[in-house]
């Protein structure tokens, strides 16, 4: 029985390999119920609608589920386990008029078990029951190969070291080099096999770190080859389409990109990879909202960007943010871009910043020539945020973004309002006393306006009992507290404009009573 299972697993593995080898641009993966696979095969010719994901994920419920499944439902970003194995029915976004169907079976074309696989138009579906035998067999083979590979790489080191710097008899040299060649061939063959099995392993289990590591190990021992590394990124993209929160997969991408950079891959390729990665995050973020791991990756890309790329990202993500106003990750990303610009200006002032320099040197260089960009972009962000707040009531992410912007203005007034002056030379290092006073004055004016804005938001909500309006009130009230507690660079900014602190306590008590314990503890401490 064991043998039958193993054979079955091996067969499935070989079929999966053939599918992957003949479809190098698969961009989406799904694990589906056998009945869904049957319907996929029953589809005549079609082309997928590229707007949304082809496979959508289903959340696993408790008691309604099959008893045998012990749910390892992934927690919100905090667990390293994979998500549930069930895939979904395809989206109704297919167009049956298209005649370029790629389902290949029979007649000398690619053969695979239709009860296990379906592949067309860059989409690959695997039936859930096929996963276990596939995985078990791949893992068993992987273990065996790992041991053999470890042995070969050890022996290789030993023989390399014993040949060094010694005079050898020509004949012995010949034998050794012949043996060496055989070892090289053996190593290469093992590597090929390992890459094959680990490919299947990470597809079924994207968090199987040891499999990803084996690939890194092999790639490290070879000469850097652009095509190979690009194919590696393609594999990671495919895996991420099913496991968008897989930290191992994202980390693998970063490793590959770093490897490309250090391995001397040409800059144009690197640039297009970085651009594509940013787009990949956006695509994935659209399908799995507030995806911490995905956005963390996009944040990592900023350190490789120039000023024009950062500004472009700010512009391009604006539209996305507007259609995902509850996605705090996106707004955080914009905060990183804005901070990056600020840091670029700051480093040109050689001021010590409260945060470490994270920007590409070219970004700083460019900002030295145009320091007023920082103020312009930040003010633009502030007014755009105001529009969104007025339009979309009660959205926490928008208010948090506003808190950040005011914090930024408060802590860096010298940079903002000095840089809105003429040239860098005038405002470098020792900012004149007048300029400092002026910039502080500007911050206080801004803060006063913001307090009025918060009041207007509270007033606009009235005695409405709708949830959105209530939340808007709450956020506006806590925003007032935020403003009043901003220390700024020379003592509290806002105290000068709102000396009556009792009123804020009463406001919070009235508008956000369920957080009374928080206000009782917090307000005396921060005001």
């Amino acid at each position: 029985m064991e043998e039958v299972v193993a054979d079955h697993g091996l067969r499935l593995l070989h079929q999966l390999d053939s599918i992957l080898d003949s479809h190098p641009s698969i961009d989406e993966l799904g694990f589906v119920h056998p009945m869904q696979l049957t319907s996929l095969h029953a589809l005549e010719d079609f082309s997928p609608d590229n707007q949304g994901p082809f496979f959508t994920r289903m959340k696993r419920r408790g008691k309604a589920q099959e008893a045998s499944i012990n749910s390892n439902e992934q927690a919100e970003d905090c667990s390293r386990r994979i998500e549930g194995q069930e895939g979904e029915s395809e989206l109704p976004g297919y167009n049956s008029d298209d005649d370029s169907g790629e389902v290949e079976h029979g007649n000398g074309k690619l053969l695979y078990d239709e009860a296990a696989f379906w592949c067309a138009h860059g989409k690959l579906a695997i039936a859930v029951p096929a996963l276990a035998p596939l995985y078990k067999t791949a893992k068993a083979e992987f273990r065996v190969l790992q041991k053999q590979y470890a042995k070969v790489t050890e022996e290789r080191c030993e023989s390399a070291s014993c040949c060094n710097g010694k005079e050898m008899d020509g004949r012995i040299n010949g034998i050794k080099s012949c043996l060496g060649l055989m070892k090289e061939e053996r190593k290469a063959s093992l590597e090929k096999e390992l890459m094959k099995y680990t490919r299947s392993l990470v597809i079924v289990n994207c968090d199987f770190a040891t499999a990803w590591n084996a690939r890194k190990r092999i790639l490290s021992s070879m000469a850097v080859c652009e095509d190979t590394l690009l194919a590696e990124l393609q594999l990671a993209s495919m895996v991420l389409s099913y496991g968008p929160k897989s930290e191992e997969s994202w980390a693998h991408r970063r490793w590959v990109i770093n490897h490309m950079i250090s391995g001397g891959v040409q800059q144009t390729t690197i640039d297009s990879v970085l651009k594509a990665d940013s787009k990949l995050v956006e695509l994935i973020a659209g399908r799995s909202t507030m995806n911490y791991r995905a956005w963390r990756h996009r944040h990592w890309l900023i350190s490789h960007m120039s000023l024009s790329q950062v500004s472009a990202e700010l512009e391009e993500t604006k539209l996305w943010a507007q259609s995902h106003i509850a996605d705090n990750c996106c707004f955080h990303y914009r905060r990183c871009l804005l901070l990056g610009i600020l840091q670029g200006v700051a480093s040109s002032f050689s001021e010590s910043m409260k945060f470490p320099p994270l920007v590409h040197p070219s970004l700083s260089a460019a900002l030295t020539k145009k320091p007023q960009i920082a103020a312009h972009l930040w003010m633009e962000e502030l007014s755009w945020n105001e529009e969104l707040i007025k339009h979309y009531l009660g959205h926490e992410a928008l208010w948090i973004h506003r808190r950040f912007l005011l914090w930024g203005f408060g802590h860096n007034s010298k940079i903002f309002w000095s840089s809105s002056a003429t040239t860098v030379a005038e405002s470098v290092v020792t900012v004149s006393f007048e300029r400092q006073e002026e910039s502080l004055e500007r911050v206080m004016q801004l803060a006063a306006k913001e307090l009025q804005f918060a009041d207007s938001c509270i007033a606009a909500c009235g005695p409405d009992v709708m949830e959105d309006a209530n939340r808007q009130c709450e956020f506006a009230a806590s925003y007032k507290l935020w403003l009043l507690s901003l220390p700024g660079e020379k003592g509290e900014i806002c105290k000068a404009v709102e000396p009556n602190l009792i009123s804020i306590q009463n406001l919070l008590k009235e508008v956000i009573p369920h957080r009374q314990r928080l206000w009782d503890g917090l307000v005396p401490n921060i005001l």
Partner: protein, 320 residues
């Protein structure tokens, strides 16, 4: 009025060992973490003795590599996370003497980078979670002096954001899980002065939604595991009285499967050992009767931590 179905959860955790379904197969790589979650939960519920300590320790020791680090299971590459979990499990069973502490310390020290950060393994990924794993593990082994602790805490401090929270790297989005790692690491290292307790306390309290549950970031749904990460951070910073503890307790109890045992991320979802542990740990921090006290920084029962640092379970100071 809901109560804690303690025995059901004990039975649930004991049943996990026997599972060999596909889910167990694809979570095999993190079995060390799963074991830590299950065993610590068992100890908090007073049932650690139900488990076969010798069998578990024997399995655990086979997960150690020559470099000193532990993998998530047999044949899995070493990583600092599993190294911490292994040491935590050994602490639970009072078997820390089964390992060479210097070897483990050397492995961890080797993962520290120039800027003070820690990589998770030889492949170089940096994350404040790994800083926590390193600091917590070395502290339990009483070998914190093997790393540059000042650089380590300075790096963590650099991951602080405008909102008082911490992310995975400098500039990373504030996230309750990462915040726990940073606050706990700083606490263990004696560097809590880096934390703005009022500002962060405010951010953490805003995680409590109207149902009483806690989320991990703005706009997200509440999840039982944040009962641990948010709560433990608040306890460390002495601000836990700022949240509505009663409502949180009700939320956690609502997430139980009262028939089959186990706790899920939110009411009516499927249960798992991860959420069972964090639910019980959260209740412990809320001082729920029948659950042992847990240390908010080490994430181990207080009596276990006392035993390590003071030599006796009843808390009396031993000769040092």
């Amino acid at each position: 009025m809901a109560t804690l179905h303690l025995q059901k959860h004990v039975d649930y955790i004991k049943s996990l060992d026997k599972k060999s379904d596909f889910d167990s197969l694809v979570t095999e790589h993190l079995r060390m973490s799963g074991a830590y979650w299950g065993l610590t939960a068992m100890d908090l519920m007073g049932h650690l003795a139900d488990m076969d300590a010798n069998e578990i320790v024997a399995w655990l020791l086979k997960c150690q590599h020559d470099c000193g680090g532990f993998g998530g299971n047999h044949g899995h590459d070493p990583h600092v996370i599993y190294t911490l979990n292994a040491v935590q499990i050994l602490a639970l069973f009072d078997k820390l003497n089964a390992v060479d502490a210097d070897k483990i310390a050397a492995y961890i020290a080797g993962l520290q980078n120039e800027d003070g950060s820690f990589s998770g393994d030889e492949w170089g990924e940096i994350d404040t979670r790994f800083s926590y794993c390193a600091i917590c593990c070395l502290s339990l082994l009483k070998r914190l002096d093997k790393i540059d602790l000042k650089k380590a805490t300075d790096f963590v401090a650099r991951c602080k954001n405008f909102d008082g929270g911490f992310g995975c790297t400098p500039g990373g989005e504030s996230h309750a899980g990462q915040i726990f790692c940073c606050v706990a690491a700083l606490a263990i290292a004696g560097a809590l002065h880096h934390v703005d307790k009022d500002l962060l306390g405010w951010w953490l309290c805003e995680r409590q939604v109207k149902s009483g549950g806690l989320n991990g970031r703005p706009e997200k749904l509440p999840d039982v595991c944040y009962s641990w990460w948010v709560l433990s951070s608040l306890v460390i910073m002495n601000r836990v009285h700022w949240i509505d503890k009663k409502k949180l307790e009700e939320f956690i109890l609502d997430c139980q499967d009262s028939e089959n045992g186990g706790i899920s991320d939110r009411p009516d979802d499927a249960v798992d050992v991860f959420h069972t542990f964090f639910g019980v740990a959260g209740l412990s921090l809320l001082e729920y009767p029948g659950v042992k006290a847990i240390d908010p920084a080490y994430a181990l029962p207080v009596d276990i931590v006392d035993r390590i640092f003071y030599g006796q379970e009843n808390g009396f100071t031993d000769k040092l």
